[in-house]
């Protein structure tokens, strides 16, 4: 029996994946009403494939608000989502409270695994607290790296590239029960000391941030000098030192919370230990700069030319296939457009009514376009690509489309009379 304590996005997806691999799972969270909804298959967020996974494995997973039920588990994952503030700082108090509850409930000889996002050094300190219990109750503590990707979480949980496990002493073999759980996923298992595993997770994310920052920096130059970043990317991906899966799609800065958290951790560690933090500082500055790209384009192309413009916004989630809006560029844009009318549509996100006096959420993408002077496509939901540009043209008053992710065909937009702006190529040039 495997336990998951903390009904976060990560905990739910990981728990469902364990159930799908044939393990019985108890998933614990203090919110009884949430557990009831989850037992009915009602998830508090959108994640492709999750509901199907639950339907196929519902007999093996039980959601409960009774911590005592975790005493039935031989392995318990601590999977609480660690909240971050706007600057990526972590609040670990909820996790430490949860750990106390789980330790109290766990049976002797249970293996505890921290799956939550924790800063380097956290697991070693926790191990120090648990050490006395190791001798008397046989509790063992590990840290396991998670690299959740919203929108692809199920796929990655079912078919992980590898497991990275932090151990007190990596020279010792993993306990058999834990090894059995990991082996069910048939991928390499890398065991290292706690601190290395904690930093491995951050290192992975720093590599991703670095790639995206390169893409954003070079894409901006493309926009200025007449190159097209989308033509350059295939050349980079054929370079083995860069690779076909490299994160080279330019975007509106770094969002979602997890990457920001890890950058903040690196900066904090660099400050504490006197290491150079110039590079992560530059990543943060570049991310904030690119986040406002659409705002700058709208000011230059519409707001400075049209009195009381109305802006249509497609997409509120920070990326496609999720309803998360954490640090979403769309929300920053809407906030910066306060005096103007904004009509927004997102297939998975509904904002609270009245967040701004001039903000309305539309039922469809096309409805949001009615009478708009400009359209900004802030989230690359695939369904936006299927929308007929002629219909958009018919509904909109103005002729400006800001399409950072190139969801529409730029040439068609241009032929339809639109000024068309996308990341990585000069204005007016489509994909």
């Amino acid at each position: 029996m495997i336990g998951f304590a903390g009904l976060s996005h990560l905990g739910l997806v990981s728990g469902m994946a364990a159930a799908a691999k044939g393990f019985d799972v108890i998933a614990y969270g203090a919110d009884g009403a949430l557990c009831d909804r989850l037992n009915r298959g009602e998830f508090p967020f959108f994640e492709p494939g999750l509901e199907e996974l639950w339907s196929a494995n519902r007999s093996r997973i039980n959601f409960t608000a009774a911590a005592a039920e975790l005493s039935l588990c031989q392995v318990i994952y601590l999977s609480l989502d660690v909240a971050t503030d706007e600057n990526g700082g972590s609040d670990l108090s909820g996790l430490t409270d949860l750990i106390d509850r789980v330790v109290a409930a766990a049976a002797n000889d249970t293996i505890l695994i921290v799956l939550s996002q924790v800063p380097p050094g956290f697991t070693r300190k926790l191990a120090g607290r648990i050490e006395p219990l190791r001798n008397t109750r046989g509790l063992q503590l590990f840290y396991q790296v998670e690299t959740l990707i919203f929108g692809r979480a199920v796929e990655r949980a079912m078919e992980p590239e590898r497991f990275i496990v932090g151990a007190n002493d990596p020279r010792h073999e993993l306990p058999e029960t834990y090894q059995n759980v990991l082996s069910a996923f048939d991928c390499p298992i890398l065991v290292m000391r706690y601190e290395s595993a904690e930093l491995a997770k951050i290192s992975i994310n720093m590599c991703l941030v670095s790639s995206v920052s390169v893409a954003n920096t070079m894409a901006e130059l493309c926009e200025k000098i007449g190159a097209d970043w989308s033509e350059i990317v295939p050349a980079l991906k054929l370079d083995k030192r860069i690779g076909q899966y490299a994160y080279l799609t330019p975007g509106l800065g770094i969002a979602g919370g997890n990457l920001e958290r890890d950058i903040a951790t690196v900066v904090s560690l660099a400050n504490e230990f006197g290491a150079d933090d110039g590079v992560p500082d530059a990543w943060i500055a570049n991310s904030r700069y690119r986040r406002d790209w659409v705002l700058r384009v709208l000011h230059a192309g519409v707001i400075s030319r049209v009195a009381n413009p109305m802006i249509a916004v497609w997409g509120l989630a920070y990326k496609q296939d999720t309803n998360s809006t954490k640090n979403s560029p769309a929300l920053f844009l809407i906030d910066a457009l306060k005096p103007f009318s904004v009509r927004a549509y997102d297939p998975a996100v509904t904002l609270e009514a009245g967040i701004q006096p001039n903000f309305l959420q539309s039922a469809t993408a096309l409805e949001a376009c009615e009478g708009a002077d400009a359209l900004a496509i802030m989230t690359p939901w695939p369904e936006f690509s299927a929308i007929d540009i002629a219909e958009i043209r018919q509904l909109m008053k103005g002729r400006v489309i800001v399409d950072p992710y190139s969801m529409l065909d730029g040439e068609t937009c241009g032929r339809s009379g639109f000024s068309y702006f996308k990341l990585g190529s000069p204005a007016g040039k489509g994909k």
């Binding site: 700069y289 406002d292 700058r296 103007f340």
Partner: protein, 298 residues
């Protein structure tokens, strides 16, 4: 980088310190045109280089007043250490005055010269490492005033404009101001090198309108004032030559210094004042020319 403490309200009275200069005059005029009561102080009213100015300011400025501080000895009147020290003495006396009581609002017109030469694009949090005494003077004064108003909890705003152009310029500074004058007078524009350096130029009326908006909103913090569109001095010269229209010659010269550029990220103006529309360089130059011709005709 700034926040507004009030929604749109008219300041009770505004005292412009340094009202006889290019920027001070235009701010005074703009505020008066909008119906704001303005007290315009110049060096003829109070000599800020002297310690007595502290008491003199106290007699002229009341606690409900808002202040716009523009006063400075500009680089055309001196770029040396002695000028720096006189400017700092003015800052010292103003600070001593500001420490005495809470005022409604203090707006300090600083300069983009506070930033390092290689800060690109310049943002409000770019590295402040001035390469001139003029920039150093502004940076030190920014800090002096910040320390003074902190003691009285007076809302404090620093505006850092890029090069300002427009009618009434008294400095004949390199760029639109000098180019337009020499184009009209001598039919010639002289460039350093071939005028390759790219700079941002803000129209004086935009700066004044922005000051008025900041006063109305009791804005505090730091805000750069620029258009976000940098162009080369050669392009500025070409635009002016075209506007003047009667065979203005653009002359280059051997380059004495390496080419440097300066660009601004003006996102914070967009966020702070979403409805504020900046004047394009083309429109600003055309208006500037009209103003000069009107003055000549008048």
């Amino acid at each position: 980088m700034i926040r507004h403490l009030t929604s749109e309200t008219s300041p009770a009275r505004v005292v412009v310190v340094g009202a006889s200069g290019f920027v001070g005059q235009d701010i005074t005029r703009t505020l008066r045109e909008s119906g704001t009561e303005v007290v315009a102080l110049s060096s003829a009213d109070v000599d800020l280089t002297k310690p007595e100015s502290v008491d003199a300011l106290g007699r002229m400025i009341g606690e409900p007043d808002s202040l716009v501080i523009v006063s400075a000895i500009t680089p055309d009147k001196g770029k040396d250490a002695a000028t720096l020290m006189r400017n700092l003495a003015m800052g010292q006396h103003l600070s001593a005055f500001l420490e005495q009581a809470k005022r409604a609002h203090v707006v300090y017109i600083s300069s983009d010269a506070v930033y390092a030469d290689d800060a690109n694009p310049v943002r409000e949090n770019s590295c402040c490492d001035p390469s001139s005494f003029h920039g150093l003077m502004h940076l030190v004064r920014e800090r002096m005033f910040a320390e003074a108003v902190r003691k009285t909890a007076t809302p404090y705003l620093i505006l850092r404009p890029c090069a300002v152009y427009g009618g009434g310029d008294t400095h004949n500074s390199y760029g639109p101001n000098r180019f337009l004058r020499t184009a009209l007078k001598d039919h010639q524009i002289s460039l350093f090198g071939q005028g390759e350096e790219q700079r941002d130029h803000i129209y004086i009326k935009d700066l004044s309108r922005l000051v008025a908006l900041c006063l109305a909103r009791s804005s505090e913090g730091v805000l750069n004032v620029a258009t976000g569109q940098s162009v080369s001095f050669f392009e500025v010269a070409e635009k002016i030559a075209q506007l003047c229209g009667d065979g203005v010659e653009i002359k280059g010269s051997p380059r004495a210094n390496p080419v440097t550029h300066r660009h601004f990220d003006v996102t914070n103006i967009r966020k702070a004042f979403p409805e504020f529309v900046l004047t394009s360089l083309d429109d600003g130059l055309a208006e500037f020319l009209r103003e000069i011709k009107d003055n000549q005709a008048g």
